[in-house]
Structures are given as structure tokens and as C-alpha cells.
Subunit: 460 residues, 2 copies
């Protein structure tokens, strides 16, 4: 279909200020935070209601026009890149909190809201949505990719914090899944079929989220270690202790070096653990921290700092949240690839050690940044855009660490999703039977293949 | 197909001691703990391996023979009743713990193992599987029905505690879902599609479960209240306080009267809350209990007992676990129906009050037993088998409380599943679009309709 026909047809549903084919707009909707090539859509529309999303999908279904949903564009595996052009449905105008059920620790929201903005409002009710991917992702994007982050070790991933959805199917039909009851055993779990499906099975137009009370007592701690192996062993020991950290992050020496370039951060240049604990009382927290310090010491940890005030803690965690941005500033103009494997915690020290060894062998500028308590390891690999050999080595590192994680009963992606980057690992990870079933689900839910085509399922 | 042909065909896969058409055996496999009519299968087989399950399903798929999986038979909505006869696949011989990954807080098990037996073994590692439906259910049954129980308020339901599955599809094909990583964002969530599908989409032959460390410090408390409304309001206040109970159960006056007939239980005859808290230290627990006592007192609670020793606590919670059995002994020879609604916690007091009022109006022998912290309300309704009017009133009570729960954004079943008993509520709860999608999923995964036919989806 020609762009002019498409545009004319969409103007039947949308006022002209909410449809665009302007080059600058198409380019803004052509890419995410990954290094995959940009691909502009033919047209961008900004729906303001579920009805409009339904109208667009019914139209696209009938005319076989690709539709790619877009939130904040902060994904890292190319999820919102409209590989086959067509329509980008940009959810930025569907960004309302529809209802706050403070007494139930729940909120019903539209997908375009950014989670940090949402949490600022929820803080007024003493509540927050716990999954925190760092970048200011949209809730729709977090649901689509089952995003997680620093606090998942305590609060779970996005998947674990959603109760009900409104979904528009490829045909334009609107369905509702789940309920606001925290326990549900009624029929097939459609909610979790759509969460993590990256906009390929249906588009989420509303979600009822579980919230958590803002913890009153918390304490942050950091410790330095002589090696990443020692830090990783400490992670394993802390997780085995049952202390239940609210955050447990591992940063290697390069990550700490990069972090130190940020305002107000002065860590010793060595692998570090960043930890946070919450508790019912100051005395309980003190007891926890004493145990943690002892575990760190046993593994050669030093420079243990805890009990820091809220300001200093906020500076540190704020910088940790922006660590990817700080890396981009540290390696200006470079391309990057971010590994995202996760393994059972008993294999975490092995994966970290292997990663460290591979980075050295392959002579790459790559830091290890890990949501360690979850066994989730990121390698943030930078390389010059023109250096095809370095790019090849970066890919080699990513593949080697994924294959090692799969050997250890882990996954190719703990929280970034499949998108384009992990398609090639779907078969090795899940096997032909499970992948065939995923293909059948895709064919059932999107028979015309209009929803975010070319993603998630491996290319045949 | 004639039973003799079926038997002869199955003897090709199974030694004769693992296939039976004996009347007594068929009757033992004809019913669960519900009051739905028994229906014997044509044949019972006891597989010992995934391969055998696969062989049976491939055969049944080809010859369109119904197959109903059976675990402990403790379900309450008729799930394992083989409504169309055929084969019952009795999993009792597939009851092994395949692997314990103590350091990862995980175990890989076969579906026929009973969770209490499994937990006895896991206790040797300081671990347990937290969902506890009370009756000694099999893990396969718990997965099939997304069972929950007393500790779900802290640890989640079965759905929240499973990482990976081996599943035999209707065709006999064996697939694997998930991984042992606690964070996974790789492709469609097949694991949660099978959990809660009640043996209608595929049969689980192995599961990797999340375990929890046995808590070291815990404290139980009970309190009596002047009315169920006051007790229900207290539940809401405790959940809002963020104290995070490990169990929070409400029993009405009749439930307490019934419980008192058990050995060693001497509660005042009044609505009660049973509570349990875990904590990092004795002093933290004392602080928690003081707050809880204050909340109870503000709502008119009295007879607050806490800090009881492990023995007394075990007596109380053991009796609570057996409360359904004690009810059956208290109402000998009577039939029963158990309501299982769940609502957002803010609506919990309203549902309990309405239930109390309806029980009085309908003049039924029904107790309110509630996993209150989850907003999950059971009404255990007994009636004489010959009293068709009482049976009709029991059904009227169940329907009224389900409809009220649905009005309040709740669900018709918090933990017992749909089976036969809740089919009629599927459309009102989920709407035509979601139910149509569930039907499509069923048709995709089980095109011959051999898997537990006549369950979950509403009859047309």
C-alpha cells in the first residue's frame, strides 16, 4: 500500500495532528537504544484511546499493514524498530493513571506512562511500582519486554507485578484478562501470555499493576573486592544467607571507573557490590548489616561502607541507575552491545569469572554490571563504529556468554527481551518443540503477521 | 472404542500390573473431593516416565480417546473426574524428586509427588515449597489448578513458584518451557499457559519449583472478635500496615465451633483471626506482634494470644490445615459445596459481611473460612444429601457470592480452579472475547479434544 493511501485512510480515524509522515518524526520512531540499524515507519500515529488502537488494528489486519507499538524507545534489543515499515503506534498520549486503588496497593494505568513519572504520583500515596529498568521506560514497554531491574531481587519482574490487562488483538477485538484479586485460578493465564510478547501477540492498552509500600527503613552498603570472582562469591553467600536484599548489584573495575566520572562518586577502583536492605526497624537493619559485613570480609571484601544517609545513598543509586548513560558519555560516539544472561545463583560466580576471562582474551572494552542477586549478568561492550573486527569480537563475547548461560540452565535474556538481538538463541534455549508452539501461538493470535513482524521468533 | 480394544492397545506400552479395568480401581479414579457425581474411566494406567505419557497421548490423540490426568484427587471442583470415560493417567508412580538444587532454592520433581512428602525431604536442606493447599495434594494437581493456601499471602501461589516445566502435548510431543534462571524474558511465557490449565492443554511431567528457606524466627497469634465484620476490618488494617504476615486466616463462629471439636483446641466461640509472622529476630517479631495486638484491639478484638511455643502453634495450624476434614467429621454423611471467591483486599470486609448475611438468610450450615490476607473467602456449605431444597440454597449462596465478587473486580475462584463447578462463571468473569481466545488456545493445543474434556471452558 502506498504511503499516501495509508495516510488518507488513517485520517479517517485520526485528526491530522495525530498522524504524521514527516521525515523527522519517522526518524524519531525508527530506533531504540540498541545499535541495530534504524528503520523508519511509513507513518506514525498517536492514539488517545483503546477504541482508536482497535480501529487501527482492524484496519491494518484487513489491509495487512505492519503495526509496531512504541513506548519510550528505551529497549535494548531493537523491539520497536519497525522492520517492515508500516504504522508505528506511538503510545505517548495514552499516558494516564486511570485509577489508584491505594488500599489495595494497585493502580490501573495506560501503557504510555513512564514508570518514573508514575512513581512520582504514587509516592504521594506511599506506594511505588517496584520493577525499575533504570532508563525511564514506559509501562507498556516494560510489560511488552517483561522488564526488571535493580529491585527485582526483592519485588519480582514486571511479569510478577501485573494482575489484569486490557488487550487489543490483531483483529481489533478488545479483550480483558485477569482481575484485581491477587489470587486467581480462573481459566487460562492470558495475562502472562501477553506480558513479554513484545507487541507481537496483541497490544496492551491498560494494565492493573501491583504496587508496593515505600519502605520506611532502608540501608545501603557498598564493599570493594580484590576480584570479580570474590565479589561474585559474596553475592552467592549473601543470597544463601536468607537476608533478602532489596538490591544486590555487582560492578567490575571498569564499571566503577566509569561510575567515578559522575558527579559526587568517589569509589576505590576495584570490583564493588552495591547492596540495599529494608527492614522493620533500625535495630533489625543494623543486625543485617553486621552479618553482611562479615560475609564480605570472609571473601576478602574491604572498604565496607554502610549506614550512609539518604542523600549519599540516593547519589550512589541514582548514578547506578544512570550507569548506562554514563558509559555512553565515557565512550563517546562508540557503538555498543549489552549481554543480558541470567543463570541460577549457584552458577553466578562461574559466569562472572568466565565473562571476566573472555573480556580479557577478546581485548574488549566491556564492563560487567550485574543484577547479581538475580543471577543476571550484563556485559556492556563498547566498540568503535568503524572497527568491524571489534564488533565481531563483541558479538563473539555475547554468543559465548549466552551459550555458557544456556549450558548452566540459564537464559539468553533475563530482562531485555528477545527483539532482534536474541532471536538466534531461541532454538538453542527452548528447543524445537517449544519454539514451534510459540510460532503456532503467533499464527493463532496474529494470522496476518501484522504485529511487530520480524521479532522474537527466530527467522526461518 | 471398546474397552477390550483399548486395554489390549495399552498393554503394548504398559506391563499388565500398570493397566487396570478392575471395577474397584475404576471407582477409585472416578471422583475427587467435590460433591460432583463420580464417573469411572474405562481404564486406569500408571505411567512411570515421560516417554510413557507421551506414548499414551500419541495413541489417544490418534484414536480420539479422552485422557484425564490424576494426582492425589484432592481437588474440589471435579477436575479429575473423567466425564467422558476413556483413560485416567494416574501419576502416583511418577513421584520422585529428580534433583534438589539447594543452593539455588530449587527442586525438580515429578508431578505425582505429594507436596507434604516432598517438603519432608526438603526440610533436610532447610527448604520448603511454600504453597500449601491443606490436603496433601500432588504437585501435578497443584500446578494444574494453580493451588495456593495459607502461606500464599507471603509466598505467592503455585503459579508464582514455578520456573520451568516439561510438558507432553496432546499429540504426544514433549516440550520444555522456562529455565532455572529466576529472571526470564525469552519468548512467550509457555510455563504460565500450562499452569492452571487443569490438564486441558497438556500434561506436566516434570516441574522446576522455587523453594523458600524455612524461616528461623516465627510467631503465631490468635485473636477473637465480636463479629466477622470486625475481624474482616482488622484483616484490611493489618494488610495496609505493611507488616507482611506469613499467614492471615479468618474463621467465623461456626468454623471455630467445628475446630474446637479437634484434639487440643480450646478457642473461645467467636470469630477469630489466626496470624503468623516471620522475622529476622525475636525482638523484631515482638515489635510486630505489639503492633498487631494494637490493631486488633482497635477493632474490638480480645483474647489476643501470641508468643505461643512451637508445639501449641503446630497444634493450631495443623488443625487449621485439617479444618475441611474436621468439618466433614462434624457433618457426617452430608454433601458440601465450597465457595472460593477472591476480591481486592479493600472489598474483603464487604464480601465477608455479605456472606455472613446470606448464610443467615438462606438458613444454611455454612462456615466462613478465609485466606483473609489474600482477600480469598471460602464458604464451606454442608447440606443433607436428600435435601434438594438445601442443595438449591447452597448453590444460590455460591452464585450470589461469586456474582458479588465479580462486581467487586474479583474472581470466581482464587485457588480451587474451574473444573466443572465454575464453568458457568467463565463468561461473566472474563467476557466473550477472552473466553473465545481460551477456546482457540484449547483448539490449537488439543485439536482432538482428548485432554480432560468437558472442563474449564463453559459448555456451549
Amino acid at each position: 500500500m502506498s504511503t499516501s493511501t495509508l495516510l488518507a485512510d488513517l485520517l479517517a480515524f485520526f485528526s491530522s495532528d495525530r498522524v504524521s509522515t514527516a521525515t523527522a518524526i519517522l526518524e524519531q520512531n525508527a530506533q531504540d537504544e540498541s545499535s541495530f540499524p534504524a528503520r523508519p515507519p511509513d507513518v506514525v500515529v498517536w492514539p488517545t484511546s483503546t477504541t482508536e488502537v482497535s480501529q487501527v488494528l482492524a484496519y491494518a489486519h484487513q489491509h495487512q499493514v505492519p503495526v509496531t507499538a512504541r513506548g519510550a524507545g528505551t529497549s535494548l534489543e531493537g523491539q520497536p524498530i519497525p522492520l517492515q515499515g508500516g504504522i508505528v503506534l506511538n503510545f505517548q498520549q495514552m499516558n494516564q493513571i486511570v485509577a489508584i486503588y491505594a488500599e489495595d496497593f494497585q493502580a490501573r494505568v495506560q501503557p504510555g506512562i513512564f514508570y518514573k513519572d508514575m512513581n512520582r504520583t504514587l509516592a504521594g500515596h506511599g506506594l511505588f511500582f517496584a520493577p525499575d529498568p533504570g532508563a525511564n521506560a514506559s509501562i507498556g514497554g516494560m510489560l511488552a519486554n517483561n522488564a526488571a531491574g535493580i529491585r527485582t531481587v526483592k519485588y519480582g519482574a514486571t511479569r510478577d507485578n501485573v494482575l489484569a490487562l486490557e488487550v487489543v488483538l490483531a483483529s481489533g477485538e478488545i479483550i480483558h484478562t485477569g482481575s484485581r484479586a491477587v489470587k486467581q485460578s480462573s481459566g487460562y493465564d492470558l495475562t502472562h501470555l501477553f506480558v513479554g510478547s513484545e507487541g507481537t501477540l496483541g497490544l496492551i492498552t491498560e494494565a492493573t499493576l501491583k504496587l508496593a509500600p515505600l519502605p520506611e527503613q532502608f540501608s545501603a552498603a557498598t564493599a570493594a573486592f580484590p576480584s570479580v570472582a570474590a565479589a561474585a562469591q559474596t553475592v552467592f553467600d549473601i543470597m544463601g544467607s536468607g537476608l533478602g536484599p532489596a538490591a544486590l548489584e555487582l560492578l567490575d573495575e571498569l564499571a566503577v571507573t566509569v561510575l567515578n566520572t559522575d558527579e559526587g562518586i568517589h569509589l576505590s577502583v576495584a570490583p564493588h557490590l552495591f547492596m540495599e536492605f529494608t527492614g522493620p526497624s533500625e535495630s533489625a537493619l543494623q543486625q543485617t548489616l553486621a552479618t553482611v559485613q562479615e560475609i564480605c570480609r570472609e571473601n576478602g571484601g574491604n572498604d565496607f561502607r554502610s549506614g550512609t544517609g539518604r542523600d549519599q545513598r540516593n547519589t550512589l543509586w541514582d548514578a547506578r541507575h544512570r550507569l548506562f548513560e554514563i558509559h555512553k558519555r565515557y565512550f563517546p560516539g562508540q557503538k555498543y552491545l549489552i549481554a543480558d544472561v541470567a543463570v541460577p545463583i549457584s552458577h553466578f560466580p562461574a559466569v562472572v569469572s568466565r565473562a571476566s576471562q573472555l573480556i580479557a582474551e577478546l581485548q574488549l572494552a566491556a564492563s560487567i554490571i550485574s543484577h547479581a542477586g538475580d543471577g543476571n549478568v550484563h556485559l556492556t561492550i563498547f566498540y568503535p563504529p568503524a572497527d568491524s573486527q571489534a564488533q565481531a569480537r563483541a558479538q563473539q563475547l555475547n554468543e559465548a556468554i549466552v551459550n555458557y548461560a544456556l549450558e548452566l540452565d540459564g537464559t539468553s535474556t533475563g530482562e531485555h527481551g528477545v527483539g532482534i538481538g536474541k532471536q538466534k538463541f531461541m532454538l538453542p534455549e527452548h528447543g524445537p518443540g517449544a519454539v514451534a508452539l510459540m510460532r503456532q501461538l503467533k499464527a493463532l493470535l496474529d494470522p496476518q503477521g501484522i504485529l511487530n513482524p520480524g521479532k522474537v521468533l527466530p527467522l526461518t
